[in-house]
């Protein structure tokens, strides 16, 4: 059989071996080196993503999965600098249908909004020091909008923070989140397998194999027909 799931014939990775919330301190102990976020920003991001996708007794949450590390690396890289973002003015608010219309790059956007939040809360209770319930209330207030975060409307900030959190949770671990593919294990997404041809017609089966990351050595299992030559210059 040239292709198919059998190519990954390692024993199925049992779910019990996955880091659970109980074991999450061990995972979280792999402290990320932040390249973009300063300590105060990191404290906010870590606390916020832990509320957006919390750990529970079965599965780690965004914090344990490394989402702050993912966000940090994204903000420090090309995306943070405004890659693929049309950045010519004039700048106008527009209608909700017209999408993102702020002059900030993602890096500027996160720094500006988080600085405003931290400045507001420094004299009160910093976000990271709040109880979980207080944090949820504060996040809901950002989500509801109407708060200006240094030029960033809070609802837009919330929405970008949420999108980045989901990305970091579910993207391939090579990007620094979804550590040990915990999010994929949680939902049963097998990752970067190259073929389901031999099982797609087996309706309703339970796929019990562990997921595959781009970073794993799957060479030889994924190339359908490497012998076919390319023609473009």
């Amino acid at each position: 059989m040239p292709i198919g799931l059998a190519a990954n014939d390692a024993p199925a990775q049992e779910r019990p071996s996955v880091p659970t919330a109980a074991g999450s301190s061990a995972v979280a102990a792999q402290v990320a080196t932040y390249l973009f976020l300063n300590a105060e920003e990191a404290a906010f991001i870590e606390a916020a993503v832990a509320r957006l996708i919390p750990a529970d007794d079965r599965w780690p949450g965004a914090l344990e999965a490394g989402v702050p590390n993912y966000i940090d690396k994204q903000l420090n890289g090309a995306w943070g600098a405004g890659e693929r973002l049309y950045r010519s003015g004039p700048w106008q608010t527009g209608t909700p249908s017209q999408g993102y219309q702020l002059p900030f790059t993602p890096a500027e956007f996160f720094r500006t909004a988080i600085s405003a939040i931290n400045a507001e809360l420094r004299a009160k209770t910093p976000f990271a020091k709040m109880t979980a319930a207080e944090q949820d209330t504060y996040l809901h207030s950002l989500e509801a909008g109407g708060k200006d975060l240094g030029g960033v409307p809070s609802n837009i900030f919330f929405s970008e923070l949420w999108e980045s959190t989901v990305e970091g949770f579910f993207s391939d671990p090579v990007y620094g989140g979804n550590r040990a593919m915990v999010a994929w294990r949680m939902i049963g997404f097998p990752g970067a397998y190259a073929s389901y041809y031999d099982i797609v017609h087996q309706h309703g089966i339970s796929v019990d194999r562990g997921p595959v990351s781009l970073a794993e050595d799957v060479h030889g299992h994924v190339h359908m027909n490497p012998a076919i030559p390319a023609h473009l210059p």
């Binding site: 919390p54 693929r84 797609v200 781009l214 359908m224």
Partner: protein, 589 residues
């Protein structure tokens, strides 16, 4: 100052599907052809290979294969009284770039339009009377018939190796196919793909309600196939990385797998990549094109003289190039005069989501971009619109393109938007949910059009295209009606909960709907209401042909690629058999 290059016979502006096919064919006919592509060269090997190609973040979220917004985007507004603003990132639709164009990242859904679509106004008026069509809609005939296009549909499908089951061969209804389709001359080149579980569930539900499910025609192939160019495609393995990705398996029809290697073998054909065409140059009469001016990756400007200019880019870029070159009269919505930018249409897409018990494993990741099962009972004019106050329709089907989790993590109504409740709902429903697509027609309306933006410019200093669009009442009513049908099917499929969202106004760029932008340079019989004659030749400049979905007079219930392919071969035949023998207008007014 532009460097003037040696003249050639033909220039194609863009080397996607239409440019690659036309370039290959005309080079084979002995003409010197230059294909000018604004994006990079790329091929299955080494560019589309595993593991890197299976990267949802890079390709689906960051849109690595799409046009670079930094250089070029479009501006958008819902109505003429608003200020259009640039789409600073692609979200709502995704124009591709690079060799192969959007046919590198497409899903492979390969539908024909209905015979009635090409004689749309005539057909609807005959069936329902002259006052039935909402007067705000600028519905018109295309100037070509299904019968004329049928051999060209056939040719395109056999180039792609499309997998499917015919429903109508020369008027004989075929069991297992789409009984509503126009007659085709023969069976599909390859049999249907395997039916994934979501397709089987849909089939059962739809059949229980008396509908006519059939396998979605797919240019992700069910078996190896060698096309008339001698190029061999491989069997699709349902890896789930089609839409927004390139195929590593040689299993998806794209210019790289179906035609480009044949073009590049011919010394009459030359491909130039990373070159942005700024304008089509006209002679002093304004009635003849002399070639194009383009800028290469290093910023050097060139003039490429050519006898024939084929504008073969994405629909929006075709229209923008006409406007920036001063070809044709721009449409003015206040007077209804002018044809360039007129009859812009989109696609009216909605969905019903079917949530199952936790013991029903859907395995949504076992998919190709075009595997799935659909019904055509409510498409186009396949049902009597007499009792309804709308024209058009939608196909409905279970088409899941891979279950990649950044984009796909469905939750039932009432689930919190974030937090523990959200997380637990995602874990509970990810593998136990089927999404039904309601893929509907889009009708041109007087107030929807394309023109040049007065403010925003591209990286070369030229005006961006401005899109003024909102869904017409007619299409909103259609979406409501057919989405209700999808909800009924969802219930018949045994789901616990069915959540439906018919299309609503306003049109928004903030959530992906489809990249099926059509019209703006439409074909037709009347130069007042069309930019092109029935052979896709410019009425005003007879050595310019504009090939693409920009030629659609309206957008039907189906994905546009197959019809673009058929029109490409139709125009090619006209160029080879008529135009080359006697250059000049092929239709006289």
């Amino acid at each position: 100052m532009a460097e003037r290059l040696r003249p050639v016979n033909v220039v194609t502006v863009g080397v996607g599907m239409t440019g690659a096919i036309m370039g290959k064919e005309l080079a084979a006919a002995g003409l010197k052809v230059v294909g000018i592509e604004r994006g990079p060269g790329r091929d299955t090997v080494p560019d589309f290979q595993s593991p890197a190609i299976h990267d949802e973040l890079r390709f689906a979220i960051r849109k690595a294969l799409m046009q670079d917004n930094v250089k070029e985007t479009v501006t958008v507004r819902n109505s003429s009284d608003q200020t259009a603003l640039p789409m600073r990132r692609w979200i709502g639709f995704l124009p591709g770039t690079g060799v192969g164009g959007a046919l590198v990242h497409w899903n492979g859904q390969t539908y024909r339009f209905q015979p009635a679509d090409f004689v749309y106004k005539t057909h609807l008026e005959q069936r329902y009377g002259k006052s039935f069509i909402d007067p705000e809609l600028t519905v018109q005939d295309w100037g070509v018939t299904y019968g004329e296009l049928e051999p060209h549909y056939d040719r395109f499908e056999y180039l792609c190796g499309t997998s499917g089951k015919a429903g109508n061969i020369k008027g004989q209804i075929q069991r297992g196919g789409n009984p509503f389709e126009g007659p085709r001359s023969r069976e599909y080149p390859t049999p249907p793909m395997k039916e994934p579980y979501y397709g089987a569930l849909f089939r059962k539900g739809a059949e229980s309600l008396g509908y006519h499910p059939f396998p979605q025609p797919a240019s992700t192939l069910s078996q190896p196939y060698t096309n008339p160019e001698g190029l061999t495609l491989q069997q699709c393995v349902f890896c789930g990385f089609c839409e927004r990705f390139a195929c590593e398996h040689f299993a998806k029809a794209s210019p790289q797998t179906i035609v480009l290697p044949a073009a590049l073998k011919n010394t009459n054909y030359e491909l130039r990549t990373n070159c942005q065409v700024l304008r089509v140059n006209l002679d002093s009469t304004g009635k003849t094109a002399t070639g194009v001016t383009y800028v290469d990756a290093a910023g050097r400007e060139f003039e490429q003289p050519a006898d024939i200019v084929l504008i073969t880019a994405y629909a929006f870029n075709n229209v923008r190039l006409l406007l920036n070159s001063g070809i044709g009269k721009p449409y003015d919505p206040s007077t209804g005069e002018g044809a360039v930018g007129r009859n812009y249409a989109y696609q009216t897409v909605s969905a019903s989501t079917v949530f199952y018990d936790a013991d029903v494993n859907i395995n949504p990741f076992m998919a190709s971009g075009s595997s799935g099962t659909v019904i055509d009972d409510f498409s186009g004019d396949n049902f009597d619109h007499g009792p309804h106050k709308f024209i058009g329709g939608a196909y409905v089907g279970a088409i899941m393109t891979g279950g990649r989790p950044i984009e796909f993590h469905p939750t039932p109504p009432g689930t919190p938007a974030w937090g523990l409740g959200w997380k637990q709902a995602v874990a509970r429903h990810y593998n136990h949910t089927v999404v039904l697509t309601v893929h509907g027609s889009s009708h041109p309306a007087r107030h929807n059009y394309l023109d040049l933006d007065p403010t925003y410019k591209d990286a070369w200093g030229l005006p961006l295209l401005r899109m003024t669009f909102d869904f017409p009442d007619n299409d909103i009513r259609m979406s409501s009606y057919v989405t209700d049908k999808a909800t009924e099917i969802g219930r018949a499929m045994g789901g616990k909960t069915v959540a439906s969202a018919p299309r609503r106004r306003p049109y928004t760029t903030t959530a992906y709907q489809t990249t099926h932008n059509t019209g703006g340079a439409v074909m037709g019989n009347d130069p007042k209401t069309s930019v092109l004659n029935r052979y896709l030749q410019c009425w005003d400049v007879s050595n310019v042909f504009v090939v693409g979905a920009s030629a659609f007079a309206h957008n039907a219930s189906y994905n546009p690629t197959n019809t673009v392919g058929a029109l490409t071969f139709w125009a090619l035949d006209a160029i080879k058999n008529q135009y080359l023998k006697s250059p000049g207008p092929l239709v006289h007014t």
